[in-house]
Symmetry: C2
DNA sequence: TTTTTACGTCAGCTATATTGACATAATTCT
DNA sequence: AGAATTATGTCAATATAGCTGACGTAAAAA
């Protein structure tokens, strides 16, 4: 192949961007690998992990809100959620104002597993963040944030607000 | 719950680290979503994408090397690879020195699809990188790099070296 | 010549997701 | 009060992507 000066290499084939695409792929592969190995011991999969994680983050989450976060169908959710309910890691209570709603909460057992999973994934980030300045941490958050679809950001922002509120409620003095 | 001053919140439950875990999840979800939508038009899935991507990056990749990158079993690979061979997006040639090896190459059609997929994923990164200084870009690469398992980094490094070499070979003046 | 390596393939299984249809109870609208 | 909508649950069928185990073949290495 002969290079032509008038036809610069498009960015989509730029070596550095391709490298980033791959690094992102490998990083995610290893990131979820941690949890996958742990979940195997309990006979659960990634789908269970996601439920445990988001219910831990926002106790009292409704089915609709969870579906919105996970972006899967209710049938997909239900198969996995049912297992977690049966094995008493999650419990659902009717909403106090709207009794059609099922609000999800983790049991003690569920919470312990969620914490264990959070611990192992947090450890990876901590290891990474330890070598970073405050400014670099800000940049990393900003980088990941801007990787998210623009039209999804409001929902992500809202989720994080809710999660933060739950967090403060459960840790206030 | 009553906060106890002698029991600080462990980092695994630190609000900021949990936020990073979630941002990483959402970012990856949207990142692969781009390609997923495109692949649907062709009746392919993520597994096909990965093969197309890595063979595009390193033409002449052997089955063993590809398995090493993807970290799946040869049976899993074969089902998908066979489709790509049948539909003539990939072709395999016996290795010149070791004729047991099957070296993989993309056909013109395969290469066009691989480029289209790279374009859409690169676009996301470009949009993100456009607002970043050179230093911030370096940091982003470093951040993703350190998210990868330490024992996997040599292999990733090696892959990137190989890919870069292929890239230069195909773009040299 | 024997053994090992690189790869292909068959069969059966699991996990995660999908669409479509239908059911039920609770809330809201008219 | 009755009708429509909403939140959720459930059944059935299907697709994709992975797995293990077993067996086969051709080529290379010992």
């Amino acid at each position: 192949m002969i290079a032509r000066e008038d036809e610069p290499i498009p960015a989509s084939q730029d070596s550095d961007v391709l490298e980033l695409i791959e690094l992102f792929f490998f990083a995610y592969r290893d990131f979820v690998g941690d949890a996958d190995r742990l979940l195997e011991n309990y006979g659960f999969g990634r789908a269970h992990h996601r439920i445990l994680h988001f219910v831990q983050r926002r106790p009292g989450l409704s089915i609709a809100a969870l579906l919105d976060i996970l972006q899967i169908t209710k049938q997909s959710l239900n198969r996995v959620l049912k297992q977690l309910l049966d094995e008493k890691l999650v419990e659902s209570r009717a909403g106090p104002s709207d009794r059609r709603q099922r609000l999800l909460y983790l049991t003690h057992t569920g919470s312990e597993l969620a914490k264990e999973l959070a611990r192992i994934q947090a450890a990876r980030f901590e290891r990474v963040l330890d070598n970073m300045s405050w400014k670099e941490k800000e940049n990393a958050i900003e980088f990941l944030y801007s990787m998210i679809d623009e039209d999804q950001r409001p929902q992500v922002r809202q989720h994080l607000r809710h999660a933060k509120a739950s967090f403060i409620r459960n840790n206030e003095t």
